[in-house]
Symmetry: C2
């Protein structure tokens, strides 16, 4: 399959929304992300259900952040998009009748579970506020005011 970039994508979209300060349409976000508006709606749909963003139809509508950035962690976002699998590897067969495979699966699963736990713990330590702060630091390092629009793609 393709490499899953939904988490990366949704975080990116959220930060662009934050920087904008006012509602952004799927089309605007899609342009910034160089993708399709429907992809944006799909990916933000989960966040809306989780209460992290709000969407409004019609004129002047679009997407806005619905909560304080400091209260949303990368782990929250990960859960909101449906907890996609983290590990690229899996077992050849689940529920194997073969004892050899059971032994192999057990060893691999133990390692994978530990790595996943660590990953999710790290995700839980980073909030959208953290990411926004990092972005602003990068802006400053580039000697541009955070109010300019130079961070928008294209």
């Amino acid at each position: 399959m393709k490499r899953d970039s939904r988490l990366s994508g949704v975080l990116h979209v959220l930060l662009h929304m934050v920087e904008q300060g006012k509602p952004m349409t799927s089309e605007q976000l899609a342009k910034a992300m160089q993708t399709h508006p429907v992809v944006i709606r799909r990916i933000l749909g989960g966040l809306r259900d989780a209460g992290f963003v709000h969407s409004e139809k019609g004129h002047g509508g679009g997407w806005t952040i619905a909560r304080d950035l400091a209260t949303i962690t990368m782990h929250d976002v990960y859960k909101a998009i449906g907890r996609p699998s983290l590990m690229a590897m899996g077992n050849r067969t689940e529920a194997p009748g073969c004892l050899v495979e059971q032994a192999v699966n057990a060893a691999l699963d133990t390692s994978f579970k530990e790595a996943e736990a660590l990953l999710l713990a790290r995700f839980g330590e980073v909030t959208l506020a953290t990411l926004a702060a990092d972005f602003h630091a990068r802006m400053a390092a580039r000697s541009l005011s955070p109010t300019t629009q130079e961070h928008i793609h294209g």
Copy 2:
């Protein structure tokens, strides 16, 4: 993409080779793994280059383990099959000009790298001997002698 099961597969094949004690052909191994002989040759090719297994052509040929099981870790096997990517997720764009994306990528990469390091460290702690011992323990728990062929699939 499909879920990568090469590591799981090759470990499985190796343990079956160990249990057999004499050379096994790609066809025999493929039958046990319910896959195609060419897949077996492909996956074992990397291990041969790394010196972990030996292959012989012609009558009585096939695959054998070339080293003491205790000297081969899951990490070694992982390296031998070409260090396939461990994380199912990636960044939407590598080398992003967008500072927002840079901030997001940096945060994700840090977490991914830590998780990968942990995973590889765990892989390095498990040898083929460990796995074989676990298999024999499972055999005993099932009250079968390890010399029977009941662990072979089908």
